[in-house]
Symmetry: none
Subunit: 206 residues, 4 copies
DNA sequence: TATGAATGAGTATTCATTCAT
DNA sequence: AATGAATGAATACTCATTCAT
């Protein structure tokens, strides 16, 4: 979303208004439940204009993804490729992700909700980018496992997917008006991911 | 509305066939992509019969989930209300949840995928039941925090939501044909939840 | 309607409850807009019960008519067949009709609204009865024309239909809470029918 | 909703054909008995085209009526606002109304038959316009009462509603093939309204 | 004197998309 | 860089009625 909350009708060029409207609607109602009619009404353009800029509703969805994903991937690359122990870099990566969610909450919601609906040609491209992002994350986990900083009895895929699931679902329950800011939430979640809930990790049950 | 609130729902042959067909189709194609026509054809009933038992496609979806949720809530209640330290009971609860998911993977996938499409009355009813489930979980976490078995620097809501998010999302990446069974995955995820990825929890970063 | 306002669920035998519910619904929403489902729910019977007593929705409608029409016809017959000048008898007939509308407002509404929908076998019977009623009225008008008490330059059909239209439409605008009782309204309408609005009937325009 | 409130409605060929077809079908079979399928087939357009111009079948019905009502209101305004005694102007207004009905018998029949099926927003809009028409009429009656040309012992509302009921119902019994033309009928009805049936208005009964 | 599950043809409406201008 | 009328196939849902029990 290129627009901060408050203004109802997005200003700017038609294309931007379409993207902003679609992002907001996809995020709030889901991709399937959003009609092209709603999009053009919210963006205050005609259907023709929308199809002038995007060849289909699906392309509109993938556009939103890819823009976001590209940025996120670049940031993760920078941090993961840095120096220092894996756990510290993981911590920094997640912290950074949360910092950016403040500004990109809506497209991330879209991503979480509607990713699996992208099919056909578009799917391939998006899935490839998405896999690249996930791999950067997973590589970091695997590196930590090799250097002994992370446990080896849990598969790196399990770790990565569990982490990302937790993050991607935040929009479902987190309320910015609540007791925590998004950044504080980030700190708590990283702490949880890294060290778990248990204070005395020795007493293995069963 | 054909179902009488609270009372045991009568099961005709037709009703069972409808539920089975819908579960399978929703799970495979998603809720929106499944048509009532497909459901009645698969269930070998007429449309009228389907609408005799369920007042809408949405009620059919929520029915499937509510039945399952009720069962899961009962199981969690039994385990969480037992004796022993909180971490052991949490471990047992999650293990049991995974065992149960093994038998009911389809309807759970259905729900995880289509939850956000349900609105209004139905959503409210399900959310209420779902909240009850979550509270059972959260109470267990809070108890552990009070007894010192769980860390107190992370809010119980954060713990609970993070756990459940990880679980609810597994249908997105887990493949039963892969290296792990669902139960093995369960073991790894509990381990992760309880003790984190890090082997040396002392070296707190930043 | 066999029921005075106040009680929601009509007491009494099933058949009576069905008639009462149908009358109320047909009167309020119209025949076409009322579903058998609404009728059986309001009457608190099953569909089977309804079809046990009435072979179709249409028969239910005609039943309501015929009961009312038979009574009304009998009363009109008694008055129209009496002695005295035609205008006095017409006056008495209309007065009597208004007196009875107090108790039969609902079925009269049904009659006014849905008469024209009755088709097929039922139609013939109802139309015959309805025509009989109208003819009693019209005979009275024609008699008055012959005896010179009524004007001859307006067709008796026009007079009759205009009278009855005015009466049948009352439910559309008359409110019992308003300045007039139904009987007072009756007096005013008869006065209007008999002598017109104009005080000086001599000055023929055009 | 495709129509923009207040502004002149653009007329494509297709829109005109839809209105014409709907008017004819509604008039002949009734609103409920007419399907959208029949309308689009008769108008030789697709369903999509119909829903492009009218947001629902109900809007199509109300459109037909509102257009007509607006015209009639304008005519009544012109005549009622003229000079001369109230009874002459009333006579002229009704005569003009019948002349107009002669040309627009179909849409008027449509409305008289189906009015009660329209609910909600559309009904409210039409009722407001309809009330405006009725008030013009009633004002004329009240003026006549003040100037002594009309009797004062009958409420103006009663007069107005009785008049208009008689007119609105003529579609139920009038047959153009019968002994009278619509204009002749108009003359007889005005005569009746103004001076009543009775030749000797002195002999007040009871 | 009911029950209630089931029918099946039919309904109004939606929606992503196109294309001449 | 747009418009907006039109498409056409598909969709969820309704409803009077039946019938074995």
């Amino acid at each position: 979303m290129t627009e901060r909350g408050g203004a109802r009708v997005p200003r700017g060029e038609a294309r931007d208004r379409i993207v902003a409207a679609a992002t907001e609607l996809f995020g709030r109602q889901g991709y399937e439940a959003t009609t092209t009619r709603q999009i053009v009404e919210a963006a205050q353009v005609t259907k023709g204009a929308m199809y002038h800029w995007f060849s289909s509703k699906e392309e509109l969805l993938t556009s939103i993804y890819r823009e976001l994903l590209a940025e996120q991937t670049a940031r993760l690359e920078a941090i993961a490729g840095g120096a220092g122990p894996a756990d510290v870099r993981l911590h920094d990566a997640v912290t950074d992700l949360f910092a950016h969610m403040d500004e990109h909450a809506e497209p991330l919601t879209v991503w979480a909700r509607s990713m699996h609906l992208v099919a056909g040609e578009h799917a391939a491209a998006v899935r490839a980018e998405r896999r690249r992002y996930q791999h950067l994350f997973q590589d970091l986990v695997e590196e930590g496992q090799k250097t002994g900083v992370f446990r080896g009895d849990v598969l790196a895929t399990v770790v990565t997917n569990t982490f990302l699931s937790g993050i991607v679902q935040i929009y479902r329950w987190f309320r910015p008006e609540g007791p925590l800011t998004r950044r504080e939430l980030g700190e708590q979640m990283v702490a949880l991911f890294l060290d778990g809930v248990r204070t005395v990790p020795t007493a293995e049950p069963a």
